[in-house]
Symmetry: D2
């Protein structure tokens, strides 16, 4: 537990694997029994973050075919740990020795040595973005637990492209491939990203995550406030550098009298507990760390957001489903629903 | 555990108590033995958040005298759980029945009923800001574990007052009573807050937290990234609505090439692990929820930041000390320090 | 968590306090809301283990009056942490310096120094039997969660007195004060224990714990098997030296064909999970460690079992209630009850 | 966490896998970095519990070749989670439908349905003894953390064969294949077991586990007493039905004055904490549940003890190594070692 390889209390996700080891994987514990498992939907989820699918992102080919080792039988969850493994096919036989003492800014290279005194220098190791495969797999299973709730992540800023009107964040429109809720900009974004790749440049951006048709009573009053667990969930994604809910940073500008009757200001969370309104979260992504000559090979993402949207959704599903199961323990003693 | 009343893995803080019950308290487990305990310093910490001390904040009188029940013997920690209780003296014999069905916006009143179906309607109950007494007590003990590290919280925005030059955030200057790093503004802030009280208005603001003389190797590569645990720690404070580290939200504006050689951009954390640089965090506080006639009695805070600074410092000390103890488990196997 | 001051996953008990500090206490987290609290019944539970009540046990007077600090409001549980404190009134002003370097066999005196390098030498410190007050308080609340289940502990061996017929273990008879299910022996047991006190001698014995009207499906298939959690719960009581369930040690003597159709052999647990049959546990207590001149003062227990029965019942209630709440999380997905 | 698929606090073992699913596996988290990994020794450990090796036990062929997926690089541990997978080759294409509603006594068949409402009826599922492969793999890694400590399990009773002289339990003699510390009986034990197989009969027995060259200060004073964690570890093995330490059940027969000066009575644990003496544990195994016609096929174990010894050793290594890492967190504050 002290190594922090797990997330969640009743529904828990444990990930393992270095980016250039044999395989990555995840053990999801606490999934209830008798849920219907549909592998094709799981694969849809994984393809959203898979490399090589979105123009202007990395064109590495890593087909992440998940292998279910346990916890599923005849198409249903058993209630036992679900282990899923994804092989690393990207183990090229090249000489990695030059990377041994090369520490990239913003990466875990140096801090891994400071922490462990040893590392797998062939890639990002444990801190690689590849670890997020595990999160998406777990997120899919989490979504089965709260089927009525819908979570969507939107890219609201990528390079110079900005969405400033929240009403564009439509839950029912497919904004692929960039998740940018103005589909007419897609071609320009593509062009922009391809140009970044050509120049070896990278950019950050912003993502808004909404959860609709929310359940009430999720979150705990002291340390596991829903906003606190959501913040941890999203900040545990490598490239995320800020988190806010509801009015977020704008709370510093408004007066108390302005928000006293504006429930939307609170983004669906009061006193740390969901009140049934839509959840509204905003996070920032930093530019990816690989720039310059190395970035021009086309094997890197000039912006990670398009592939990270499903990772964000997964982490939010995990928090909500975990808190739903926690609240379930006590449901028979509630007078209200 | 699923009720989220504890925080921390090796060093853990558990709080209990409703705002209008007999007492609030905290059990701090995992404090090492043989640390020198100085009650007068603990009381200094508590006075920073105590009501009635800072002009323009609540003038309620609650002398929070901590009673150490266990874990200390002859001035030293025993290595056993340290339990500290603070009585609630604010239990006036007035009739609270009118509050039973009155749900205040931005408070936990309604969500507590949604979650539990019952509540102590005399005050904020478990979700009251009074619970942060527990955090300050624990923060004091956490600071004894990592005596070389220094954590300071600065108020960088309160109402119209804004600090935009980070170089003013001097670790060695006492910016009491408002923690605003431009002492010449203190009188104007006081005037501003008193005026807010008079008008029944409230405001939010921003706080920057710095940790200097940092240790390397704190934080874990996957879910317990240092930034993730810090985010959770700070978002678990009731009024906090956003968190960022390093460049934070500004990461959305910069290019990868800009930050590739600017280590400061990462706020002391790379790959989720501390790199020895100063930690740099920014959070937002929302305006306090009580406004209008009720707020004019002078028993409420028009802005919670002045009293919350020591709470923020405490939560950061707790995260850093917990991660220090975690890393301690493995220290003998490191080749580097 | 690594200091092991808590027990239980959803329903958790945290205890604190040294035997000669200001107070002992307990925080019980995870108790559902809306349960009726009856202080007089809690006090009944506590009196069963209180010193000074049972002839032939310690005649120290420690009236353990519990002070509820939180979690209860108008006679009902709030769903928040319940903190209960019991003052130590036994802090006589005598000179304890002689005890500083005196290590008693079978006690934690020496090992506490080996572990912490410091201790409160005035008594057993954290390892004192006084800590079990916390367990009884928590056990009472646990029993409210599973009101249909009945747990009873019987003394089946104390000194030369032995019960060998399990049918005497009647759940509905009060076998106070010794819990020995042959009330005609009570006077002889009393005489025996008084004689032990006179001679400065101590004895151990055996306790059988039964749980009737059991719920099915409690316990988890791998590490948290019901038998494993019960074993830990009971072995965490200082004087307990063995644990078995069902046929227990006798399983070493029988043949597989003998037990294949004897469901009772399994003591209500198959595959680590309760099957609805009565739970049947047997544990051993060692003789109390204080013997000789010191034990003749009448302030020590020649046998701890009479006062420990309610502690055993409490620990079993805690395990069963915790597993009940765990199973509750998943109840809506079960096809069977 | 509430599903109990993990064991240990700093060093933790998570297992997954149904007996007839694709694979079983284990994730070991908290192993320190820079430890030398020797696969051939891991395989030696696994072969001790592998089927088909010991005359008179199951002659099923399951070569358990472990596949290391993560956490090891160039022969050293990385400090990251070590995931190991063992494929299930025993998936015969026979018709399992007859087993769907057939509940075997002493197995988890019925209780699994009571708990989950669904099960993988092709075998023991999650509760199968095959899960102990995971424990042995983890035990091997645990032993690397405390290389000076030596743990050995001896079979002291199997069917009619009994060892009553503890001095025969020599730590340095290889008592394979039955672990019975009187090698002259090996042939008779073999004969006895083969006869059991022929008759479709099964037997239980007893195992003594010793740990020598022990470290002091392991174990925590309240709930995580070393004896409590050892009891849980061993009772979490399916067939184990009793646990005792030191004099164990015999503590019920002796007087306090007898043991006051006999340190050996306490089996190396006082006040729940290791005192440096040898650890001495005794456990009981029940007869395996499969008897009668089905058991005569030679694919079942008439007694599980020979193959379970290494599982017992592994669980004890895990507890000791976990407690060693826990104590490590605080080591710099101890005055004594």
């Amino acid at each position: 537990l002290s190594r922090g390889s797990s997330f969640g209390k009743i529904l828990s996700l444990s990930s393992f694997g270095e980016s250039h080891g044999l395989a990555l994987g995840v053990v999801i514990d606490g999934v209830p029994p008798n849920l219907d498992f549909d592998e094709s939907i799981l694969i849809e989820w994984l393809e959203k973050r898979a490399p090589g699918h979105i123009p202007g992102t990395t064109q590495r080919k890593e087909s992440d075919s998940p292998k279910i080792l346990s916890g599923i039988f005849e198409g249903k969850t058993l209630g036992t740990p679900i282990a899923v493994v994804v092989e690393n096919k990207n183990q090229r036989s090249k000489d990695y020795d030059s990377l041994k003492t090369q520490y990239r800014a913003g990466h875990a290279d140096q801090t891994t040595m400071q922490k462990y005194g040893v590392r797998d220098h062939r890639g990002g190791g444990r801190a690689s973005g590849r670890e997020t495969v595990a999160r998406v797999i777990a997120g899919y299973f989490a979504s089965l637990i709260i089927p009525t709730v819908k979570v969507r992540a939107f890219c609201t800023k990528i390079g110079p492209f900005i969405i400033s009107d929240d009403s564009l964040l439509d839950m029912n429109t497919n904004f692929a491939p960039y998740g940018y809720p103005d589909l007419e900009s897609s071609d320009k974004i593509k062009e922009f990203l391809l140009n970044c790749q050509k120049e070896g440049e990278s950019v950050g951006g912003k993502v808004v995550i909404k959860a609709t048709n929310m359940l009430t009573g999720l979150g705990e009053p002291a340390f596991d406030k829903l906003k606190a667990d959501l913040a941890k969930a999203l900040l545990s994604i490598g490239a995320v550098t800020s988190f806010s809910y509801g009015l977020g940073e704008s709370f510093a500008q408004v007066k108390g009298s302005d928000i006293a009757k504006d429930r939307q200001a609170f983004g669906g969370i009061e006193g740390g507990i969901s009140n049934g309104d839509d959840i509204f979260l905003t996070i920032t992504f930093k530019p990816t760390s690989t720039v310059g000559e190395k970035a021009k090979e086309g094997r890197h993402d000039p912006c990670i957001i398009p592939r990270a949207l499903v990772v964000c959704e997964s982490m939010v599903y995990l928090v909500l489903a975990d808190h739903y199961l926690r609240q379930n323990s006590y449901r028979e003693w509630l007078n209200v629903d």
